[in-house]
Amino acid sequence: MTTLTRTTTHTRTHTATYLSDVIMGAIGDILGALGINPMTFFTDWDQDQRAIAAWIEEGSLEQVVLECHRPDGTVRPVFEFPITYEPRGEGSANFVNSRAALARYQAKLTSVPSGTRHRLFCTFNGYRTPQPGWSPGTRASTAGLRSTSFGSLAEAPHARANLRFLR
C-alpha cells in the first residue's frame, strides 16, 4: 500500500499575512457597523496592511488601535488589537479566526454621529522598521472608557491577535 502525504510549512510570513488580513477585515466591518465613512481606509488599505504584516513578521507590533473621533471632539469607541507572539511557532497549529463571533458582537454596536472619523495607530514592543505612510502620533486618552475583552480574534502558528473594546 502506498501512502501519500502532503506537508505544508507555515512560515512567519503566513502568520503575518493572516493576522493582518483578519485585523483589516475586522476594522472594515467595524467601520461599516458604526456607519463611518471608509474612504481613507480604502485608499490606504494596501500600504497599511503591508506595514502591519511587516511589523507582525518582525515581532515588533504590540497592538493596532482603531479610534473613532466624533465631531464633538470626544473619542469613542476605541478598538485595540493586541498581538501576542509564539516565536518558535508553538502557537496554534492552524489558522483560525473568530469572525462569526465578531459578527454577533458587531450587531450590538450602535452607530456613531455623522461626521465621525477614524484614526489608526500602532504601538510597538521596541524598535520597528519604518514603513511608508506611517509617522509618530499621539493616541487619544482612554481615561473614563470601560474596557471589554473580546478574546482571541485570530490565531496562527507564530502569533495571535486579540480584541479589546473601550467605550
Partner: protein
C-alpha cells in the same frame, strides 16, 4: 451556464492580492467578448477594490459568492482562507462562456456590516450590483418580455384597419 471558481486568500495572499486575481480572472473571461473592453473591466474592478478588499478580508465572500452574470455565463467566485487556502488548487484560466456576452454585471454580497458600502458602490458603478443575482436576472427577462410585448402591440396597431 453556471460555473464556480475558488480563490485562495490569507494566509496564501492578502485581500488586495486576491482581489487583483479576481480582477484578472474576470478581465480574461470577458475580454473574449467583442462588446466588452478589458480596460473597462479592470477600471471598474479597481474602483470597487476598496469594498472588494473589505469583503474578502472580512470573510464575506467565503459564504456568499461574487456572482458575474454576462450573457449566458453565471460565474460564482468564492474565496478560501485559513489552512485550506494553503492547499487549494486554483483554476485561474479564463472561464468559458464570456465570448458571447454583450454586457456584464458583478453582484456583490450586500448583507452584514458592509451592506451600505456595497449599495453605495453599486449606485455609482453600472456594472456592479448589490441585488441578489437571481432577482436581477429575472428582471432582465421581464424587461425583454416587456419590450417584445410593446413591439407586438405596435405591430398589431399598424395592422388594424
Amino acid at each position: 451556464m453556471k460555473r464556480h471558481r475558488e480563490i485562495a486568500s490569507s494566509p496564501e495572499r492578502t485581500a488586495g492580492e486576491a482581489w487583483q486575481l479576481i480582477t484578472e480572472l474576470l478581465a480574461a473571461t470577458l475580454e473574449r467578448s467583442s462588446d466588452i473592453s478589458r480596460t473597462d473591466v479592470e477600471e471598474t474592478m479597481g474602483r470597487a477594490g476598496g469594498v472588494g478588499r473589505m469583503l474578502v478580508s472580512g470573510g464575506h465572500v467565503e459564504a456568499d459568492p461574487l456572482v458575474l452574470i454576462a450573457g449566458d455565463l453565471w460565474l460564482e467566485i468564492t474565496t478560501v482562507s485559513g489552512d485550506a487556502a494553503l492547499t487549494l488548487e486554483e483554476n485561474l484560466n479564463p472561464v468559458p462562456g464570456g465570448a458571447s456576452a454583450e454586457g456584464w454585471t458583478l453582484h456583490l454580497p450586500a448583507g452584514g456590516p458592509l451592506a451600505k458600502f456595497v449599495k453605495d458602490l453599486a449606485k455609482s458603478e453600472p456594472n456592479i450590483s448589490s441585488d441578489e443575482p437571481s432577482a436581477n436576472a429575472a428582471r432582465a427577462v421581464r424587461e425583454t418580455e416587456s419590450v417584445l410585448s410593446d413591439t407586438a402591440l405596435a405591430e398589431w396597431a399598424k395592422e388594424r384597419p
